[in-house]
Symmetry: D2
Subunit: 278 residues, 4 copies
């Protein structure tokens, strides 16, 4: 008796639900949860089912392939721990939140390593017996620094996600393209407000009454990748920008961990620079 | 080309989604949205689909009846305005919010009448050319008063929902049973905290930092019916209970209108003193 | 026994609280609430006190003027209804919310008139015996249309605030300067995200998971005036932009009414394109 | 140049603000923040000021004592790390959040020890070089177990706060009275809803649409002490009670850490089983 996550996306047409559910029925699978979404505007169909039964993964895949239109993306996954690498700079809150969740067994993940351009977080990470790798950017241009990081990452096999837990350097297209839809970032503003550097300072200067955080996949345009999760908190005139920054940390870490969890549970579809999340 | 809402609840078993979707497919219906939920604990299956196509309502119903297990509740509905009666006492905010939404065409509803035990709200209601009926409770015991209201309600045919927009009197079982799962109330607390009279005073005395409102169907136990919607707002020590009451009005009206909208759109299943909402 | 609101803003220096409170003490005033804020960065001091006692407004003013530094803004106000004019276009929710609150006696305001470029809302407004003035923009350029509105507004004396309850036309600097810090707008996004036209469409295209509304004073730069209040709601991939627009209305009306209430209660200081709100 | 927190609570009377501010003025102190609250109902006055200047703590205290009414509580505090002991049982999230914040230097606290009735959390705590003390309750009645804990706590001097980070045993009056207003608990519900055991199960059974967490000081009545902070999250019918429990952890840890921070910064007054928080 095994559990499977079945992810399907394709162009919308009549009968898709019927076709998928007929496969489940024929294979005597039990549907635990079932979610569908049709994007009329783009004529796209998305479906995520969690099923269990006494079959092989391949049986489900091939039965679905037989019945669904050509060009359909079919992903059948047996839940297991995914491999992640965390990149961070100096701040402890987002990384620490992931480490504690990992330690508590809340995350379906193996943390292969934490990579940083400083050694500030080394002592924290090593408490948890996780490899910490410092790759300083000092004396290197962006290209050279990234080459070293990419070389380092290449030594790990089967990296499912790279989590930027307040990694404070911009990634080049070369890096982003190497890990398309696999890099999860936390931006410390309610995007698309306050793109770029020091968003809390920008928020303070603008006099907003709410600040937020946004977790998104990274694409080639800074802070413009598909949004996974957002959350906000209220502030008032008495908050200087450092107060905002301090209070913002709580929402940053919660939002990043929430996005990571969604990714680990195979709940996210990416298309048209957006996400569908079941 | 007509649109239909299809609501199904039954005991869970394998193949239900497949059966329903096969009916849609055979009738050449387009699925606009599709939501399912299985309550494992109670072995219950719920499904709500919105479909369109070139068929009669009866065709869908009978095709579903043919294929689904006996004892299944099948409801196929063509969207149209439902008939509601509003009951209120003296406060204007919840009633006013519904009146404005009705005037703006936001609600799929005909307001047949507003019934009150005072005439305070008469002038407001009549601005909108809606019948206002005062049934004073003065000099009557609860039983007598309710009898008069029930007689009044009986003069209206096909009442789909009775909305208690801050109607401040307790209904007896006789009344509640006459309109089972059809009476929508707004209680001015975050239930089950502060059941009963003057919840804001209770909340103030307890020193809570958050207050709320709860919309629920009315059953025989005061404030214990199935919850439809809840919302909260933050308060602090500077709020006296009248301040809470004042601030609470905003959340009361939003929550009641939200619950009403869910009911009018046939999005609510009631079972086990709970709601499933799609 | 009268109640007064005392508003003071000035450059910060030691002893200001002591000076103000000594005046209250000497005049035998009772302090009901007292709020202060010092903006270190700009070296500014703000204070709002509500006091009651057996004195004249002028006694308080002149005592404060005697003791506080030159250049201090001192405002002593006896609470009374302020005069407001509402401008709207076609949407009913924000205007309707204000009309109901006004009818319920929740607002310290006289609504002198509602001015619109369409007659869509006339029937609603006239239900409440409030003058409705249509000033169509058809066949007029922006300048000409605004001249007519300004002429109309000039016929009302002592207009304290102009409330833009979804008035969908941009105001020119001439208009804005005529009513500096007196025009309260509701923008249907979480500013500064989605400045300009059709913010819900913009939000949908960007794939955000939260939408919001912002109430602000209008200045010469579109959507860039001092923010008074903001609120947000969660959305997901299933929301088309029209769904966002529909759901957004609830937050728009609440935020606009909240901002209006703050203004009517003299709780807002404006400086440096921000607000201090007590 | 030192910074001081000045906390005053007393019966309300005219002139209190003036008296306090005159002391600050005479001692040439700079007021950084100033907050006051008058509880009319109970005729109580609360004030918290943060000041800096070139004086001794005793100078401020004695000057305030000279001028304020007898019976006034005056507390002048130089900010410094407070000593806390954490008690926990088996869950990692709330404790882990405090440990990471402590490690990051976010908390004005020394964690003297973590005390638990199980050794589950030992490995986590010792990573941070914080003493972990297991005091098993096995084979002991409540009285005996608590005696051992109290003896253990007595070995630590100057314990400012005891933080119950999901300590799952009920404390007896003897324990509570020994640390009045010094024990901070996190209860995993939106109190006063769902007092007692397994609140998520209770919430699930009631069918609520929102769950929450409450941090409060512990008094002799279970879950009825003065509330410090509360927060909520939305849930729906698809959440089983274990899902609620899982999701609830995020809000539990945030609320407990928030309450702890307020306590460490001397922002909380307790009276009438409530809190005033500046």
């Amino acid at each position: 008796m095994s559990q499977f996550r079945v992810l399907i996306d394709t162009n919308d047409e009549k009968g898709l639900v019927n076709k998928v559910s007929s496969v489940f029925y024929k294979l005597d699978l039990n549907i635990l949860t079932n979610s569908e979404f049709v994007d009329k505007e783009n004529n796209k169909f998305f479906m995520r089912s969690v099923v269990d039964g006494d079959v092989n993964l391949e049986d489900i895949s091939s039965a679905l392939e037989d019945i669904l239109p050509q060009g359909t993306n079919i992903d059948v996954i047996e839940p297991s721990k995914k491999n992640i690498i965390i990149m961070a700079t100096k701040e402890m809150h987002a990384l620490g939140d992931i480490l504690i969740r990992h330690e508590a067994g809340e995350l379906e993940a193996n943390i292969l390593a934490v990579v940083s351009n400083y050694d500030t977080l080394q002592s924290l990470v090593e408490k948890f017996d996780i490899p910490f790798i410092t790759i300083s950017h000092e004396g290197l241009d962006r290209e050279e620094h990234e080459t070293k990081i990419l070389e380092c990452l290449a030594t790990f096999k089967d990296v499912d996600y790279i989590v930027l837990a307040k990694y404070m350097r911009i990634l080049t297209p070369r890096f982003v393209e190497a890990y398309e839809d696999k890099i999860i970032n936390i931006h410390h503003s309610f995007l698309p407000a306050f793109i770029g550097a020091n968003p809390y300072k920008q928020a303070y200067d603008r006099g907003v009454k709410i600040i937020g955080a946004t977790s998104h996949f990274v694409n080639n345009n800074l802070d413009e990748g598909p949004i996974i999760a957002q959350e906000v908190i209220h502030v008032d005139h008495a908050y200087g920008w450092k107060d905002m920054q301090r209070k913002g940390k709580d929402v940053e870490k919660i939002v990043l961990s929430r996005a990571l969890k969604l990714a680990l549970e195979d709940r996210i579809f990416v298309y048209a620079n957006k996400t569908v999340i079941f």
